[in-house]
């Protein structure tokens, strides 16, 4: 029997705003399956986002949903989680939202190791505003604000998250649809800050400018550049050139922020 996505979707809120060929719908379906697997209750789960195409995701989901301001999702979510630690908190948003204007909030949420699951949809571009380069647009690529090729180096989001202190970091792509829900589910179950980077595609504002003939071509690139971490350990640096590692990249058990603050309360009330 086909999986029932409808039960997690708000009645009457589809169709979504995403363009044909956009990977965000694949990620949303993965998120739905993951949340279902983990048995997250609708009333006890907040989905928080910033601004951008990916940040429209919570509006479709039948949970407590908070569509905030550009870049601020992690900071709003921190307020929700601190004030009501018994709630499950999912954050979602794009690469520009999360690592440019929201970069400070992102790294500090990682540093605190607060128990939330950040699904970062990395399509390498500001899609909603028409395709300006983001901190994740490959060097040399064309964007509406890099007509002569992008001079900027990129952020490696997963490395950034690990460096900042997130205790569960995983990466996959929109092509690897069945891996999305597995990794998000692991992230939800992990106690602490989880970051799941899903590399996906924006055919409308990135693909067209960068000589991808079709969405299929973009998906092929996702398929071909992804290397599972286990396989990568047997590959040379030369072979790994231009590849992205997928799977669980980092995991450790460390004190979670709300649990730490519970001890602050205990000491204050001593």
């Amino acid at each position: 029997m086909a999986y029932d996505y409808e039960k997690s979707i708000r009645p009457g809120k589809l169709p979504h705003i995403w363009c044909p060929g956009c990977g965000h719908g694949i990620v949303m379906k993965g998120l739905i399956r993951a949340m279902d697997t983990c048995g997250l209750e609708k009333n006890n789960t907040a989905i928080v986002s910033g601004i951008g195409c990916a940040s429209r995701l919570p509006g479709y989901m039948d949970f407590c949903t908070l569509h905030t301001a550009h870049g601020r999702a992690a900071a709003f979510a921190t307020g929700v989680k601190m004030a009501k630690p018994e709630m499950n908190v999912i954050v979602c948003g794009g690469d520009g939202d999360g690592t440019a204007i929201g970069g400070n909030h992102f790294i500090h949420a990682c540093r605190r190791n607060i128990d939330m699951t950040y699904v970062l949809l990395n399509n390498h571009i500001y899609g909603m505003t028409g395709g300006q380069f983001s901190p994740c647009t490959p060097t040399g690529a064309k964007a509406s604000t890099t007509p002569y090729g992008n001079p900027d180096p990129i952020f490696d989001i997963s490395k950034l998250a690990i460096g900042a202190g997130a205790t569960f970091v995983a990466r996959t792509t929109a092509f690897h649809a069945t891996q999305i829900d597995k990794l998000i589910a692991e992230g939800i179950k992990h106690k602490g800050m989880s970051v799941i980077e899903v590399v996906d595609d924006c055919p409308t504002t990135y693909g067209r400018r960068n000589k991808f003939r079709s969405v299929v071509d973009m998906m092929k690139v996702l398929k071909d550049t992804a290397v599972p971490v286990a396989a990568a350990s047997k590959m040379t640096a030369e072979q790994l050139e231009g590849k992205i590692l997928t799977g669980v990249l980092y995991q450790e058990d460390k004190p979670e922020y709300c649990a730490q603050y519970k001890q602050v309360i205990a000491r204050a009330q001593g």
Partner: protein, 380 residues
């Protein structure tokens, strides 16, 4: 039984007032001269099971108090100068998403870093118009440590009742001054909690207004009510809309809920000192009103019929009463620690009914009674 008293700094009084009002969440960032509010909250909140978090920046602090408020908590942030500028976008978010929260602004000089340790009153227009777009504003301006306590409580009440951000503006002088505080007993000051929805969870709409001045009840995340919140223009159900009639209704309602006559009567608060027979009114707020009161007494001793009109609620501005006074007196003298902000609001209201003169200072020093007295004598 004798009341508990203490010698406290204004910023400490503010924090203790917040706890009295039932605040359980503080999100902040260090900045002079408001930092003591955060310091005291970090000590007091965990004692009552509340949460204190020092965020990574001013914007994050504002975001955290909105997020926490949506779970049902009464929330506070405190800042000054550039910190207030940084918070403006999300103050607008709290306006459109109708999320209660209180923002303390301990005013210093400016623009930019300006004079962090000196007092100023140059944020009164920022408190009204600082965030982009049309919106209502509520701001109160206490003038003593005792009043900082009680006005902080009232700010929470107004935030909860009108479902919006409320700003408490006081300058560095009152913020850092130490005065005797009498602590009100529990129940002595009114404490208002936001209205909870009474409809079934299936029927709940977070912006379902019953009239064009209504404040719909706000449910809490994590309760049986599930809803969507956005900073986009939205319909009654909380979901984005670009339908002109719905956008227009919501924009106007969110202003009218504060500026309709019933709400103004509830929110406005003024002190009048010897105004009844006055020929000249000194209109002053915050610490400047203390110099103004001294000036009134001196002028009266010299036979000049002076009075003090002190708006405690700055926004919405007491238009009706100021218009009446404008017709009664020969002149209004308006001292403020800026180069002229509230004076233009008064000019708009009194028009040519009486003379209007300002006393302005932006050198980090308070306005002294002598300067006010000189201006009064000159204008009459």
């Amino acid at each position: 039984m004798a009341k508990k008293v203490a010698l406290l700094q204004g910023n400490t009084a503010c924090a203790l007032g917040a706890v009295y009002a039932g605040c359980t969440f503080f999100g902040g960032y260090p900045i002079t001269p408001s930092t003591e509010v955060a310091e005291v909250m970090s000590e007091e909140l965990p004692k009552v099971g509340g949460k204190f978090i020092q965020m990574e920046d001013e914007i994050a602090a504002m975001a955290s108090v909105i997020g926490a408020s949506l779970t049902g908590a009464k929330t506070l942030t405190a800042t000054s100068g550039p910190g207030v500028s940084l918070k403006q976008e999300l103050i607008g978010y709290a306006c459109i998403a109708e999320t209660p929260c209180v923002i303390i602004n301990v005013m210093r000089g400016g623009p930019s870093t300006g004079m962090p340790t000196g007092p100023g009153q140059s944020d009164v227009m920022q408190a009204r118009w600082g965030t982009h777009g049309d919106h209502a504003a509520i701001a109160v301006a206490p003038a003593s440590c005792q009043e900082i306590f009680s006005e902080t409580v009232r700010a929470f009440n107004l935030a909860e009742k009108y479902r919006m951000p409320v700003q408490v503006l006081y300058d560095e002088i009152v913020g850092h001054m130490r005065e005797r505080i009498e602590f009100p007993e529990p129940g002595e000051l009114e404490v208002i909690d936001r209205a909870a929805p009474t409809c079934s969870p299936e029927d709940y709409k977070p912006y379902d207004a019953k009239s064009d001045t209504d404040v719909p009840p706000l449910a809490a995340f994590g309760s049986e009510y599930r809803f969507h919140v956005t900073g986009l223009n939205k319909a009654a159900d909380g979901f984005p809309t670009t339908k002109a009639s719905l956008v227009d209704f919501e924009e106007r309602r969110q202003i009218a809920k504060v500026e309709c006559p019933e709400a103004r009567a509830d929110i406005e608060s003024n002190e009048e000192y010897l105004c009844d027979d006055a020929d000249v009114i000194i209109l002053a707020y915050g610490s400047t009103s203390r110099s103004a009161r001294y000036a009134v007494n001196e002028l009266r001793a010299e036979g000049i019929k002076a009075g003090l009109f002190r708006p405690i609620t700055l926004w919405p501005f007491p238009e009706k009463r100021v218009a009446e006074l404008g017709k009664q007196v020969k002149a209004i003298v308006l001292p403020e620690m800026n180069l002229g902000q509230m004076i233009f609001e008064v000019e708009r209201i009194v028009k040519n009914d009486c003379k209007l003169a300002g006393v302005h200072r932006v050198d980090g020093e308070p306005i002294n009674p002598g300067q006010i007295i000189d201006q009064v004598k000159e204008v009459i």
